[in-house]
């Protein structure tokens, strides 16, 4: 990831996580990320237009429930937090992509974000994401999170 883009990703992710799910996101050197567990969720949002590519968030599955609990103002053990866990995670990816799109290309450009898609990941896939140069590591309330942004500007 280019330095300028990495800076925008860090700034935007921190802000959206703070305002949307009331959690703290701190960028961290990927080599220092703690052991993340075995089961992960990936939310991927494809973007098309003047800028094309994809924005992906990868989190340990348990974090989805915490995200839902924080958004809905309930404790994470409540049924509602489990019920809305994946949907809340997708919404976080959706909002982050919308804000990042504005930060990367400004308001005038025509860039459309597709509906976010959810998938499961195992530790092998997590490690593959971790190794990507387009991937930035974060700690979100002490939980490791990966943010991968791949973009390609339309040749003018």
């Amino acid at each position: 990831m280019r330095d300028e883009q990495a800076g925008l990703v860090i700034q935007t992710f921190r802000e959206v996580v703070r305002k949307q799910v009331f959690m703290l996101a701190e960028p961290i050197d990927k080599s220092l990320l703690p052991a993340p567990g075995e089961d992960f969720r990936c939310a991927r949002v494809a973007i098309t237009g003047d800028l094309s590519g994809a924005v992906s968030l990868v989190v340990p599955s348990e974090l989805c429930r915490e995200i839902a609990a924080n958004m809905l103002g309930v404790v994470s053990k409540e049924h509602l937090a489990s019920f809305r866990a994946e949907d809340s995670f997708l919404e976080l990816a959706n909002v982050f992509t919308g804000h990042l799109r504005g930060a990367l290309v400004g308001q005038g450009a025509r860039v459309r974000a597709m509906l976010p898609e959810l998938s499961t990941m195992d530790l092998t896939e997590w490690r593959a994401y971790l190794a990507s140069p387009d991937c930035q590591g974060f700690l979100v309330d002490e939980t490791p999170v990966l943010v991968k942004v791949t973009t390609e500007a339309l040749a003018s």
């Binding site: 305002k19 958004m71 509602l80 809305r84 919404e91 919308g98 799109r101 308001q107 974000a113």
Partner: protein, 129 residues
């Protein structure tokens, strides 16, 4: 006075969050209707009176743009104030929706204060609590 409000968003979390936000903002709500997309919203609008509608743009089945376009073509539905709620910052897309008749735009994530402000503006009341 209580308002019938329709929230249109494919995310159940956002719809639940709206319900919580309206409570926190102390907006007097008669019935809070919920729809997952534009088609469901039109179905609700055909059977119930709604005072104010909040809609997302990017949804499956029928998006917010098409929903507002269809409402514009209906004499009764055209009178319902529509507020666009989205994470998008696409100025052209927002202008397109405003030209179709949407009254305001709220960017996600939003606060109870901002929602109360919007309800007061659109319903023409100085204190909606």
């Amino acid at each position: 006075m209580a308002f019938n409000i329709l929230v249109v968003d494919d995310s159940g979390t956002v719809r639940d969050f709206f319900a919580k936000t309206l409570r926190l903002a102390q907006v007097p709500v008669g019935t809070l209707f919920q729809a997952r997309n534009g088609a469901e919203a039109l179905s609700i609008l055909s059977d119930h009176w709604v005072d104010l509608m909040f809609t997302d743009i990017n949804m499956p089945v029928m998006d917010g743009l098409e929903l507002v376009r269809r409402m514009k073509g209906d004499e009764l539905l055209d009178r319902i104030p529509v507020v666009v709620v989205s994470a998008e910052q696409d100025q052209q897309g927002i202008e397109e929706l405003m030209n179709l008749g949407a009254r305001a735009y709220v960017r996600k994530p939003f606060t109870p204060e901002r929602i109360r402000e919007i309800v007061e503006e659109q319903m023409g009341v100085s204190d909606a609590r």
